[in-house]
């Protein structure tokens, strides 16, 4: 791959990484700001996402409409979103349009308008989305499990927020948050065909000529609540949705890579263990897999499955048995080799476009990890043994919780199986 990585620093301290690529004249920019929904102040859950949504609704000399005209008129894409660990600003454009669009990034962060009328609109949209999400039994099941695993902690809520608190948010709280954007760690990554005078362009909209920011430092992220148990929601659906999971460990921590290989083994691709046993051998589900996002803190590790309610007991038993198996049996050498191949394959899959490359680099650097972290992982993964993976499972996956969403009789059948299972004690 003919790409070349270069590190610079913007005036004020923000690290700037440039990934020069041959190929189409496209530019992708990702500005990562530490402090996403996990940094929502007490009583203000939803603030980070509300602020993120408002950044593109007016900044510097541009009203929200003027900004939208500029971005959409260039056929560009702009997205500002809060995740659990950070807020991410993403811009994708034809590289010829970069001179007029790149100045927006820091302008949005440094001088957002935050006008009441636009705050009211964005808040209303977020509240409506939260309400609509309850139509989806997977979302209901997932929200329950998150509550069970993280309680009132920083990872305990949807980045969109908690309705009662979101309703109360207004300009004073948002201004306070906006004043600190980037101070807790930020990094800017550009990938594609990058203009020569890129630093000048980035700072063009900043009056003082510099933006005070710091490189993200490596530090511990939020923890789980330490609870384990059963949670369920009754819903009049055909299927029962099951999620079995626990909180684990941070991206880059000692056992994270072993856990990632377990993820590949269990849930990546159609040859994965859960897919083969639960779907291909038992026909229990269409959708089955593992959810294990990268986090700065205790990341969730979750098996998920949805199955007809009349098979609720069987589905629960099979899912629990797969979890138990992880604790008791090491992978065979062949299984480990396949997991490793998938790990490498997924890496290649995730390095296809400028946006993917910029996104992955921004996330790694945003976690305070080195730029070559992914390559290091590929090397280290080859050294892991089945015993390493089993030790990671035994250390991190001892006490899963079960979350259920479905009709009453299916819940009862699943609960009976859960209560008899050693994992529930």
């Amino acid at each position: 791959m003919s790409s070349q990585l270069e590190q610079r620093q913007l005036a004020g301290g923000c690290p700037l990484w440039l990934l020069h690529r041959n190929g189409p004249a496209i530019l992708s920019a990702k500005l990562w700001l530490r402090g996403g929904s996990s940094a929502d102040p007490i009583g203000q859950r939803g603030a980070a996402q509300l602020l993120a949504g408002l950044l593109s609704r007016g900044c510097g000399e541009l009203s929200g409409e003027a900004l939208a005209d500029l971005v959409e008129g260039s056929g560009a894409g702009l997205r500002c979103e809060a995740g659990e660990d950070g807020t991410l600003l993403s811009l994708k454009c034809a590289s010829d349009d970069a001179p007029q669009l790149l100045p927006l990034l820091l302008q949005m962060v440094q001088s957002p308008w935050l006008v009441d009328d636009q705050i009211a609109l964005e808040r209303q949209l977020n509240l409506q989305t939260l309400q609509r999400q309850r139509e989806d039994p997977f979302q209901v099941c997932h929200d329950l499990l998150r509550r069970q695993l993280y309680g009132e902690g920083p990872y305990g809520h949807d980045p969109l927020g908690v309705e009662a608190e979101l309703e109360q948010l207004g300009r004073p709280q948002l201004q306070q948050l906006a004043g600190n954007l980037g101070r807790d760690g930020s990094v800017l990554v550009l990938a594609g065909a990058i203009p020569d005078d890129v630093e000048a362009l980035l700072l063009a909209g900043v009056e003082t000529g510099h933006w005070p920011a710091e490189a993200p430092l490596r530090r511990a992220g939020p923890d789980g609540a330490g609870n384990a148990g059963l949670c369920s929601a009754e819903d009049d659906t055909e299927q029962l949705v099951l999620m079995l999971g626990c909180t684990t460990t941070a991206l880059g921590s000692p056992q994270a890579l072993a856990l990632r290989l377990l993820h590949c083994h269990l849930g990546v691709g159609m040859s994965s263990r859960l897919f083969v046993t639960l779907r291909e051998e038992h026909g229990l589900a269409y959708d089955v897999g593992v959810h294990h996002p990268a986090r700065l803190g205790a990341a969730p590790f979750v098996f998920h499955l949805s199955s007809s309610s009349e098979r609720a007991g069987e589905a629960t038993a099979e899912l629990l048995q797969e979890w138990q198996r992880l604790l008791e049996e090491p992978l065979t050498q062949a299984e480990l080799a396949l997991a490793l191949a998938k790990f490498r394959g997924q890496e290649a899959l995730g390095r296809q476009t400028c946006s993917q490359l910029a996104d992955r680099l921004a996330l790694v650097l945003g976690h305070g990890l080195p730029a070559d972290f992914a390559d290091q992982c590929l090397e280290q993964a080859a050294q892991l043994t089945p015993a390493d993976l089993q030790q990671a499972a035994q250390a991190l996956l001892q006490r899963p919780s079960l979350s259920l969403c479905g009709p009453a009789e299916a819940l009862q059948a699943a609960e009976r199986v859960w209560n008899r299972n050693p994992l529930s004690h």
Binding site: M1, G23, P24, A25, I26, D69, V71, E72, G73, G75, G77, E81, S90, K92, A94, D96, L121, L125, Q128, Q133, E135, D136, P137, E238, Q239, R260, H263, G267, V268, M270, S271, S272, F275, V276, E280, G283, L284, A285, Y286, V288, G289, P293, A294, S306, S308, A337, L338, K342, G345, Q346, A348, Q352, T353, C354, S355, Q356, D359, R360, V364, A374
Partner: protein, 456 residues
Amino acid sequence: MDAKGGGAHGGRGDSALILPAECEKDTPPHRLPTTPRSSPRPAPSPLPEPQRHQLSNGVPLVQLDLPEAPLVCLDFWCRAGSASESASESGMAHFLEHMVFKGSAQLPAGEFDRRIEALGGSSNAATGFDDVHFHVLIPPEAATQALELLLDLVLRPRLDPDDFAMERQVVLEELAQSEDQPEEVAFQELLRLACPQHAYGLPILGRREALEAHHPEAMAAFHRRHYRADRCCLTMAGPLSRLDLPSRLQDSALAELAAAEGPAAITPLQLSPGSTTLELPRLEAARLLMAWRLPGAADQDSVVGGDLLTTLLAEGRRSRLVERLREQLRLVESIDLDLNVLEAGCLVLLEAVCEPEQLQAVEREVKQVLQELLAQPPSAAELERARRLVGNGYRFSLEAPGSVAAMVGNSALWGRQHNLEAPLAWLQTWDAQRLHEQLSGLLDPARSFSLRAVPS
């Protein structure tokens, strides 16, 4: 809902690795071939030229060399979507797509996936109304082997009765899962009422009773009837320069396919205008869904025009519908307008999400915006905005071999042999006056079917 992509094999959306899948949220590749630069500028790197070959039995092969791409995409396309089913074959096209992965005479069930994934690749498939495709993404050094496995799997499926019974359970679970999403139920009902007497009005997943009655012999007959030399094509995209894939195909299962006994006719889509209200349990927000018919995919010029119109109306904050209904009047949580490119007639589908008490106002305002579109040509500025959004969407989608292979493969399957630059040229041929005269009128509310879904 994306009618063209309905019913993929396998919900394995959670791609993994060092980084989580959810950190990448690119705009999905545009369905439409279209894209230019709108003003004279330094020339970007030229788009690769498709290399076309044909096997001796007539199967078209298309190669696209993308030297910078890390992976090769192999994409097999066949005109065997749900529109090819007889009444008793409801759901067969999609069920067969599942069964293909259960192995061939040479490949035991699961072996294909294990071998492809052990080579660092991944595979998937999707069944639409018109066609089905099976694709593999694979490192270039393993592409030759993957090609052989893919063709064996797709063209010589074993259809073992025990596997058949087990996979039927999976398909029924897929159906149940979609029926638990009230939004999907509402869309299905919209299509049923808007496209009566047509395959596009029927569910790709099939009717439950029909699925329960299917047997392997009928599926084998469906496969024999449709997987024919004149109804298939194969696309290869990625770093191909060192691979000589076409020569590998001379003795393959693909080269042995016979032609069908005549081309399958496409039944033109007639959309029945109308209106209904549907009460749905478990719905939290109300929906206004609307459907219109535009000319079919063969009329590529109109497809590009349709993409411009839907973009002008509902892509971005400054588009007419989003600006009026969400930003100004604040009646909706979201409003989308999608162009679904289909052979028998494209379907434009609108979805507005709102509070039930706003539904009437939403419908009134949507119609008002459309009446304004009908009354006079769009301004030059908003057309230019739409042109650049559509153009860049297309350009961005050319970055990944998977989306390039899918675009080129779908075109080649239906006998459309343009290169990658052509859609850019078509985009330039539309001006405000021509859009007004030729296309805007097709989005007249009087030509639509509208469905109001409300919580019961």
